[in-house]
């Protein structure tokens, strides 16, 4: 077992970074925690600080003002950390990619381990994405 596998063997804690988004992905991430999908039964928990987290969920297009904050948050995170780009905006910039304030999709700013496409992705898709990431 490598160091990385050892780190992600047990309960994963998530930190959610909402960039310049339309809120849909944020809601669907929260929806994963509520009774119908209930990811907490797998030990996944949204935490308040990225220092405690194993997974960094990033959604929304990143604008010029968010960019430095995202970098800072990534640097604060205890490594190894899995980064998941959620939604069309997180993956490519989506409909906002042509905007004046757009500062590049997430993978141009920090390394990304998994992409979950969709506008917004359904909670099932988010769960499936995280499971795929763990089996990688």
């Amino acid at each position: 077992m490598g160091f990385k596998e050892f780190c992600f063997k047990k309960s994963l804690w998530l930190f959610h970074f909402g960039g310049a988004s339309c809120n849909n992905c944020d809601i669907e991430i929260l929806d994963c925690l509520t009774p119908r999908y209930d990811v907490e039964r797998f030990g996944m928990l949204l935490v308040g600080s990225v220092r405690h987290a194993d997974v960094l969920l990033v959604n929304g297009s990143i604008n010029k003002r968010d960019k430095s904050r995202l970098l800072e948050i990534y640097e604060q995170a205890s490594k190894p950390i899995l980064v998941v780009a959620i939604g069309a905006c997180g993956c490519t910039g989506g409909i906002f990619a042509e905007g004046d304030t757009f500062a590049g999709p997430v993978d141009k700013i920090i390394p990304v381990d998994a992409y979950i496409p969709g506008c917004p992705p359904k909670p099932e898709a988010i769960l499936a994405g995280v499971v795929k990431l763990l089996n990688k």
Binding site: G18, S21, N24, D26, T34, P35, L46
Partner: protein, 397 residues
């Protein structure tokens, strides 16, 4: 002498879903002043809209805000249809209202849940979001997506609600109503929630008028304002419903208004479904040839208040200018009244009480003096102000 403390909330705070920075200036436990910073969510939507055709713009305005993803297309459609003088069919009107009201239910439930979460009462959060799921199922059934519905276009709708689906929709609504009764009863009678929300974050009638607040925030303070009634659009003049108001103006009154509004929404949907049965199936579009030169304004009552869209057309197939004003833009300013003087622990629920939606709000705006017609502050003024400050700092060294 009491020590002054600055407590920042945000921009990426576990309390909020969206990036927004609040600075609470506190003395002891009492909040003395509040400032907020925006811009973390700015995407330049008004400019983007000018690059897109009218049909494409609907997908864009839908993504201004995920929760109000009907209200913005609604107002945009109203504006464009005003330019082209287009009258849509009755069936399209009914479907528009059904989608609009379903959205209001899901948004209000979402708020009730989040309000519970902010109070540290996670049971309410879990319950409200659990009961919200059937409404999202309805959306998935009607439009194919849980959140962004892509139902609107100029002159009608993209999809019909087939008459064969109506009994199923009715059945899901009936089931939802029973569960909702349970939730509303639990929230309204809970002594803990009473103690935490009554008399907290009070906005008086005068405050609402001063800050030009709209929607449930205004209605909870006894201001009887609702675009659906005051400037009728879609099927709202065709059905019976009433505007819910409360007098107290505190957080509890806002919750009360929202919870009772859900019942009105259910009643509107039921009447619209009855109306749909009388109209011919598939008759949802009128032919639109082109959008002439001119300008139009569209208003719609979003779950949070009045959404306003201004569209200027130069006769081409994309808007020459598109101006958007979302309800949270004025509602957020009321924090200055509702939070100051409260304890820090009550500040969070006071912030949440207006149901602020920051992704709606990230616009530029210029205010004009009502009496003289002068610009109160424009870009040049701001630059001049900034230059002056630099000058002052230079002089200190």
């Amino acid at each position: 002498m009491v020590k002054k403390t600055l407590i920042p909330i945000g921009p990426y705070h576990p309390l909020q879903e969206e990036p927004e920075l609040f600075k609470l200036y506190c003395e002891g436990e009492i909040v003395k002043d509040i400032k907020w910073e925006t811009g973390y969510n700015h995407r330049g939507i008004e400019k983007l809209s000018e690059k897109k055709t009218y049909d494409q713009s609907f997908f864009l305005v839908e993504r201004i805000c995920g929760i109000c993803s009907t209200s913005h297309p609604f107002a945009f459609a109203n504006a464009v249809e005003e330019i082209g003088n287009i009258e849509i069919t009755n069936r399209a009107k009914y479907i528009r209202s059904i989608i609009g009201e379903l959205e209001r239910i899901h948004s209000h439930l979402l708020w009730v849940g989040l309000a519970g979460h902010f109070l540290g009462y996670n049971t309410v959060f879990m319950w409200a979001w659990k009961y919200r799921e059937p409404i999202l199922d309805l959306f998935e059934m009607i439009s194919g997506n849980r959140n962004s519905y892509a139902m609107f276009k100029v002159g009608g709708m993209r999809r019909d609600i087939e008459n064969s689906k109506i009994p199923l929709i009715q059945e899901i609504l009936d089931k939802f109503k029973k569960k909702n009764n349970l939730l509303v009863g639990a929230v309204m009678d809970d002594p803990v929630l009473h103690a935490r929300t009554k008399g907290v974050g009070v906005l008086t009638k005068q405050d609402i008028i001063d800050y030009a607040a709209v929607g449930p925030t205004a209605r909870a303070s006894g201001i009887d304002v609702d675009v659906r009634r005051d400037d009728p659009y879609a099927a709202y003049p065709l059905v019976n419903w009433k505007v819910i108001t409360a007098e107290a103006g505190d957080v509890f009154a806002k919750a009360e208004v929202r919870l009772l509004e859900m019942y009105e929404s259910i009643s509107i949907i039921e009447q619209c479904l009855e109306g749909l049965k009388k109209e011919k199936e598939g008759d949802i579009n009128v032919k639109v040839k082109d959008i002439p030169e001119g300008w139009g304004t569209g208003r719609a009552e979003a779950p949070r208040g009045e959404v306003f869209h201004y569209v200027l057309s130069d006769g081409s197939n994309s808007p020459a200018r598109h101006k958007i004003r979302a309800p949270s833009y004025t509602n957020i300013a009321t924090f200055k009244k509702s939070c100051v003087g409260q304890t820090i622990s009550d500040a969070t629920i006071s912030l949440a009480a207006v149901d602020p939606c920051y992704c709606c709000t990230e616009r530029m705006a210029v205010a004009y003096d009502r009496n003289t017609g002068e610009k109160i502050m424009n870009g040049k003024d701001l630059i001049a102000l900034s230059a002056k400050k630099t000058e002052n700092i230079k002089n200190q060294f």
